[in-house]
Amino acid sequence: MNKIFNSFEEAVSDIPDNSTLMIDGFAGPGGTSQNLITALRNLGSKDLTVISNTAGLASVIGFGTLPGKTPVDIGILVENHQIKKVIASFPVSPSPSRPTAFEKAYAKHEVELELVPQGTLAERIRAGGAGIPAFFTPTGVGTTVSEGKEIREFQGKQYVLETALKADYALIRAYKSDKLGNLIYRGTSKNFNSVMVTAAATSIVEVDKIVNIGEIESSLIDTPLIYVDRIVEIKENNER
């Protein structure tokens, strides 16, 4: 089965309206599938639910961004009115005087937000990929994020029940893939990518390089091929 696609547009072309997507972007451009996000913007699918650490920061702050660059993130999908809901831990600009597109849309009630602590977000995604429907965590007990959720005591300490997250599609940024879809990530760009890739029905990955089978040493593979459905190589003139 050939997983290699020649263009980002082709790789995202079947994403319909009302889809749920997982898109990494801890915050900066490292780890963000900038070219797949751009292709999805061009495709124009609407009413998307996006699960991501942030709701797009690149247009207002240069978090983890090399000098002189303005990277792409899911902020362009917000600006293009494609998103109806974001599930995130860091949804707004750290600086209230420079609001993001998401914060402006949220103030106008054009988008919904489900705010999730970052560790709970990661674990909900991990659980989604691992067949665990829900789990108890100590994070958020006694705060607004646990309101309306079941609280249970284990060994004298309180925990809140959190449910798994799954997606129709994941847009993933990895460093290298072999032709079978075995992935490795680079540095801190692994963070949410290697979790999200496991929790979507269809995972689409952009990589710096597609290499021959055997060129990535088997014991160093981060993501085994079963999690990967489509691979696109980033070309010279694409976003990096």
Binding site: G28, G30, G64, P117, Q118, G119, T139, T188, K190, V195
Partner: protein
């Protein structure tokens, strides 16, 4: 107006709390400055929820790498012995009790050690990030912050009025005028900034402080 200590001095005082071998996670703002003040001879292992352990100095100008950042978005230098992992591993380390100390900023800290650091209610929206996980998961939570807000109000309060990050999690508060320990009986003043008396610090604080035996000047 009396002089208050600057952000670097606050960070320097916090750094003194870090023990040899501690695994430490630093939050955004003043906490992120602490790493530059760890005394020679102490080895501290830094963890960041961006998915890196055992990082060292920041990257030099011109050598920044967008795949090498901490959770404050600072570029890290590549050093031997650092490791990278997923977000679920990063938070397993936090919730699983593998982090000795976290240093966090705060909007309010209560006399019970409750922490509020993610949302100013008037904004109506805020960034939780990894703060709630760190506050419940790290073995010790140190708050590094300015003692008073921009309008002069005490950020140390009897009860937090801002949305909570976590209940009774803070054990030490280091501000620009005082070092305060959270104890069962309340908040105990340990150290005053140079030129400040304990009564003057009390007048800037809306919680009645316990005056410890032998309150000292800030020790750096």
């Amino acid at each position: 107006m009396k002089d208050r200590l600057n952000r670097e001095i606050i960070a320097m005082r916090v750094a003194k709390e870090l023990q040899d071998g501690d695994v430490v996670n630093l939050g955004i703002g003043i906490p992120s400055l602490c790493s530059q003040f760890v005394p020679e001879g102490k080895t501290v292992i830094y963890h960041s929820e961006s998915g890196v352990l055992n990082y060292g100095p920041m990257a030099e100008d011109g050598l920044e790498d967008q795949d090498l950042i901490n959770a404050s978005g600072q570029f890290l230098a590549p050093v031997d012995g650092m490791s990278f992992f997923s977000s679920s591993d990063a938070f397993a380390m936090i919730r699983g009790g593998h982090i000795d100390v976290t240093v966090l900023g705060a909007l309010q800290v209560s006399k019970f050690g409750d922490l509020a650091n993610w949302m100013i209610p008037s904004r109506g929206i805020g960034n939780v990030g990894g703060g709630m996980d760190l506050a419940v998961g790290a073995k010790k939570v140190i708050v590094a912050m300015e003692h008073n807000d921009k309008n002069g109000a005490s950020k140390i309060v009897n009860e937090c009025t801002f949305p909570l990050t976590s209940k009774s999690c803070v054990s030490l508060i280091v501000t620009d005028i005082a070092v305060i320990e959270v104890v069962r009986e309340g908040l105990k003043l340990l150290e005053c900034a140079p030129g400040w008396t304990k009564e003057e610090i009390q007048s800037e604080t809306s919680v009645e402080l316990i005056f410890a035996e032998g309150i000292q000047e800030f020790s750096l």
